[in-house]
């Protein structure tokens, strides 16, 4: 049975991805700050903060002793905060960078160690269309995801020798808690900048993840795939 690690599985896209890969026959190891919202014989949950280095290392060690190796990682956990730059406190900046950048890096590092022996690892990071669209009000969120994209491209090169691919997906807005509170007018303006003008759905993300996970995708690495025709 293949093992996939998905961060941020308590709700939203992370939970939907976990449900999907459990149904597809994978062993899913998830995490979130709180308790699990998934009950399944092949689901294991770790309650942790993704930016807590000791906790992430401890999770990786437990996984090594229980499962041996990891086949794929979906770095889904992320937070956003829509606000004008002039009104954004440093505490918000630090919180977003810690979760989105430090958390993504720590999981890449620790799970790549567990993928070394499989010779076919897959890492998929999550970015956002807010970065290429330079969305006002999303300065820190978009900047954090720009860092994730850079991390993705460089890790793709560093991990290629270990036969680990590293790619990213940039979803458009999807109905989740992450965009709750974004005014409708802002949302309409954003959709107008997409080639395909509709809200994203979880199935759009799953389709892209499935593509990166395919065995035949071993020649595809360092790529960022924006959904909705954003470029």
């Amino acid at each position: 049975m293949k093992t996939i690690v998905i961060t941020g599985t308590r709700k939203g896209i992370g939970k939907a991805l976990a449900d999907y890969y459990l149904a597809a026959g994978w062993r899913v190891v998830g995490c979130s700050r709180g308790a699990s919202s998934i009950t399944h014989a092949h689901y294991q949950h770790f309650a942790l903060d993704v930016s807590d280095e000791d906790a992430v290392v401890a999770m990786a060690r437990k996984m090594k002793s229980s499962h041996g190796s990891v086949d794929a990682l979906l770095n889904n956990a992320g937070i956003a905060s829509m606000n004008h730059a002039l009104l954004t406190p440093a505490s918000t900046v630090n919180r977003i960078l810690q979760t989105n950048v430090v958390g993504t890096f720590l999981f890449c590092r620790e799970m790549a160690k567990l993928m070394r022996r499989t010779k076919n690892g897959r890492i998929i990071n999550f970015t956002t269309v807010a970065h290429p669209l330079n969305l006002e009000g999303e300065a820190i969120y978009a900047a954090s995801k720009a860092a994730v994209e850079s991390l993705t491209r460089i890790l793709a090169r560093e991990l290629a020798e270990l036969q680990i691919t590293v790619n990213a997906i940039g979803p458009t807005p999807i109905e989740t808690d992450l965009i709750r509170g974004v005014p409708q007018a802002k949302m309409d303006a954003l959709l107008a900048r997409q080639a395909v003008r509709r809200m994203g759905e979880v199935r759009d993300v799953i389709n892209a993840v499935d593509f990166y996970l395919r065995e035949e995708s071993d020649f595809i690495t360092g790529q960022v795939l924006y959904l909705g025709g954003v470029c």
């Binding site: 000791d54 060690r61 090594k64 160690k113 070394r116």
Partner: protein, 98 residues
């Protein structure tokens, strides 16, 4: 805490396993004086990264010790701690909690 012979044995075993994985004949029977990285060493940079990760993992698994061997001190050291089994053993011992 593990003593010097225990650390050296752990490093020698890690080098041996890595040599099999990477098919490095020069490292299949390592000793204390075996050169690893740099002048006369058989490891390239990727093999060294793997060896460091293996040693850190083995220390955690066998001795419940968590250390970072590629810390800033190691990266800026005049003499690389990665040059031989002996110097790597010294580096581990220096980083073990008191």
């Amino acid at each position: 805490m593990p003593d010097r012979p225990a650390i050296e044995a752990l490093i020698l075993e890690s080098v041996q396993l890595l040599a099999e994985d990477f098919e490095l004949d020069a490292l299949k029977a390592p000793t204390t004086d075996t050169a690893l990285y740099g002048e006369g060493g058989a490891l390239d940079s990727m093999a060294l990264v793997n060896l460091i990760a293996d040693i850190e993992e083995a220390l955690a698994e066998q001795h419940d010790v968590s250390i970072a061997l590629a810390d800033e001190k190691a990266m800026s050291a005049k003499n690389s701690p990665y040059r031989s089994v002996r110097s790597l053993t010294d580096a581990v011992l220096e980083r073990l909690p008191a």
